[in-house]
Symmetry: C2
Subunit: 414 residues, 2 copies
Amino acid sequence: MTLRGKQTVRDLRRGSRSTLLRRLYFDGPLSRQELGRISGLSAGSISNVIGELLADGLVEECGSVESDGGRPRILLQVPPGRAHLVGVDVGETQVRVALFDLALTELAASDHPLSDKGHDVDHVVELILTGLAEVLRRTGVDPDTVLGVGVGVPGIVEQGDPARRGAGIVVHSQTVDWDAVPLGRLLRAGTDLPLHVDNGAKTLGQAEMWFGAGRGAQHAVVALFGSGVGACVIADGARFRGATSSAGEWGHTKVHVGGRLCRCGARGCLEAYVGAEALVERWGKAPDSSAEKAGLAALLAAAEAGESAAVELLAEAAEYLGAAIADLINLFNPERIVIGGWAGLLLGPRLLPAVREAATAYALRFPRAQTSIELGRLGPDAVTVGAATLPLSQFLDSGGEIPGRIGPGGPAAG
Amino acid sequence: MTLRGKQTVRDLRRGSRSTLLRRLYFDGPLSRQELGRISGLSAGSISNVIGELLADGLVEECGSVESDGGRPRILLQVPPGRAHLVGVDVGETQVRVALFDLALTELAASDHPLSDKGHDVDHVVELILTGLAEVLRRTGVDPDTVLGVGVGVPGIVEQGDPARRGAGIVVHSQTVDWDAVPLGRLLRAGTDLPLHVDNGAKTLGQAEMWFGAGRGAQHAVVALFGSGVGACVIADGARFRGATSSAGEWGHTKVHVGGRLCRCGARGCLEAYVGAEALVERWGKAPDSSAEKAGLAALLAAAEAGESAAVELLAEAAEYLGAAIADLINLFNPERIVIGGWAGLLLGPRLLPAVREAATAYALRFPRAQTSIELGRLGPDAVTVGAATLPLSQFLDSGGEIPGRIGPGGPAAG
DNA sequence: AGGCTTACTTCAAGCCGTGATTTAACGTGT
DNA sequence: ACACGTTAAATCACGGCTTGAAGTAAGCCT
C-alpha cells in the first residue's frame, strides 16, 4: 500500500547528495574512496556529487591520509561553521534558546525564567522571539545561515500542512493548559526563519539517538521519565509519529486498570506509579512541585540509607517500570531501550538491575532477548540540542538545501 | 538517520511500474488519463510504462469509457488470471492451503486436520507440501505462474536473509512449542516456489487492511482476538515489524501488574483477561479447549439472557479491552482500530459500545479523537487470503516482476 | 464532410549513474 | 634523478529515465 510519489531523475541526485552528506556528517572526515565503499555509489558519481557539494561550500577538504605507495586520499568533512541552528526548550520553569553551529556546538544561549504568568502563550512566544534575537545579536551570526528554529514544547504537536512552513503547527497540552494553540502562526509573525516544533520529550529522545545511548540503533525506544513519563519511538532510523504525530505517549499506558488516579484523569496510568511527581507525593514529604527534584533526591538518599518505606517505594516503581518496558518490547520489538530524563538518570543507577529483571519476567522471551536496556547519556539540557536536530535533519534529508527565508506575501500568508 | 541505498536510473522505472500497477490493482479499471492525474507522472511516461506492462501481459485493456466529444478513454486493468498465489494457514486444528488468482478469488483449497501428532513440525511441513501439490493438480495451474507461497503460522517469525529466498526463515512459538524451527529450510526442500512466512494474526490483519475494515487507512492497528490476543500494526501503509519482525505482541501487554496468571508465565497480561481461552475458563463451564468456540458462544448467550455472572464477566472484559485499546491509541496514534479475530467478531456487537467508552475514558483526549474503533469484516478464514497477500505485495512492490524459480545449486543451497 | 475536442503516442532535450579510460599524486628502487 | 608501480580522483561516452511539446488517433457536433 505504500506508494512513494513521482520520482524524477533529479531526485536521484538529491538522494545521492543526502546520502553522502549524512555519511560525512555522522562518520567524520572520510575520503571519496571510503564514501564509495560505504554508499555503493560509483567513483564517478562520488566525484561528481562531491564536486557539487564542494562548490556549494557544504563540504570541505581537510588534510589527507598517508598512502602506502599511491596517491593519498583526501579527507572531506562538513564545515561546522557553514550554517547554524537554533534550538528552543519550552520547559516547566523557563524558556531556553540556544544557537548552534552545524556540529551542534553551542555558540550562545539565552535563558528566561517563566514569570508568574506561567505558560501564557503570548508570553512564551515573546520569550522565544526575544531569546532568538538575543543569541543572534550576541554572536553576530548572519540569520541567512540559520537553517531553522527547532522548538521542544510540552504536549502534543499537530504538524499541519508542511507547505505553510510551520505556520500550521498547533499544540495541545493537558498539563500546561494549551488547547489547540496555534504556536506556528504566532511564531511565524515574529520571524522569517523556518520553524519546526515537536514535543520536548521527543526532541530529547532524538538527541539521545543521534549523540547519546541510542547511537547506531535503527529500532529503539527512548523512555523519558521526569515529572511525567514519555517515550520517543524510533523505527527504521526515523521517528515513529503515527497519524497525527502524537505516537509514543507511554506515560498513560495502563499498568493497573482501576488503580491509582493519574493527573490525566484516568486510573492506573504508568505515570501515576513511576512519575517523579507521583513518587514524591506518595513518599509524603515536600509535595511542593518546585522542589520536585530535591524531593526525589531525598527519596533516593533515604532508600540508599536503608529506610524501608523508601526502599519499598522504589522497588515497586522498578517493577512497574520494568513491566511497562516489557510492553514496549512486546509492541515495538526494539533492539535497544534507553532510559533518560532527569528522574531516569537520577534513579537509573539504583533501579536498572531491578528494571531489567522485571522486564525479563514480563516480556516475551524472544523479543526480550533482542533488546538491551540502557541508561541515557544526555542530561535534560539536551532538549535544546534535540530541538536543533529538527531543522538539521531536514537539511541532511534534502541533500544540503539552504532554505530561503520567506518574503512578505510568501506561503505564510493566510 | 534513514538512508535508502544506492538508486540508479532504472529504479525510477521500477518505481513507476510499481505505482501504476498498484493503482490499477486496487482502484479497478482506470484510463491512462486518470492514472496520470493520480500518480503525477506525465502523459508520456504513462504511455511508455503502460506499453511495457501491456507487453509483459501484466495489464490489459478492458473496454472504454464514453466520451463527450473527444476520443474515448481506454480502460486498463490487471488481468486476474495472469498469475496465481498460494496462501497457507497453519491453524490450531488444521492446515489449510488455498490457491488464488491475482484478484484473490479462491480457485481451490485443501484442508487437512492436524492428526494426533499435533504441531509436530515435520508433519505440518508434509501437510503444507501435500496441500500445495493438491491444489495445483486440481486446478491445473502452471506452477510457473505462481508468484509465491505465503504461510501464516502461530508464533514469532524471524525473516532471515532475504537473499536466501525464505530458506532462512525461523519460527518461535511458545504456544505450540516450536523453538527456532527452521520452517523456511524445511519447506524449501519440498518446493521451488518463493516462500513468505509471517504470523497468522499478522496475515489476517493484512487481509483486513487490504480488503476489510482497514481499507484506505494509512495508520491503523488491527486487534485480533481469538483464543489468544494479538495485533497487527500498520504505519504509513506498511506493516510495522520492529527489529526482528515480532512487533505487535499486544496480548502480553500488562493491564494489571501482579494480576491474573497468563499462559505465557507472566502475571497481568491482557490475554489473561480478555482471551477466549481465559474467558471460557473463568466462566467455569466446558474448559475443554476443543469446545472453546462453543464455550464462548454459551457465555455470550448467557449474558444476552441476563445471567449476571456472564454479564459481569463480559463487562469486565470490555473494560480491560478498552483500556488496552487506549494504550494502542496512546502509543501508536492510529486513525483506525479494527477489532477482528473469531472471538472479536463473536463478542464485538455486544461489547463494542462499552469498549469504545472505556477507550475514551482511558486514552488521552487528542489521539482518541483521531481514532475510530470498528469491527473487522473478515472471518478467520481470511488468514489464507492474508497469507497470499505476502507474495502479492512483493509482486506489486517490484513493479510486476515474476520471480523465477530456483534451480538446483541456486541461492537456497547451504 | 469539415471542424472540434479529448486521448494517446512519439520524440528531442536535459539529467543521472555506471564503468572504462585518463590524469594526478604519491612511494620505491635503481 | 628518474623511471616505475600503485592508488586516488577526474573525465567522458553510453544507456536509461522523465518531461513537455508536437503530432496522431478517435470519437462527437453541425
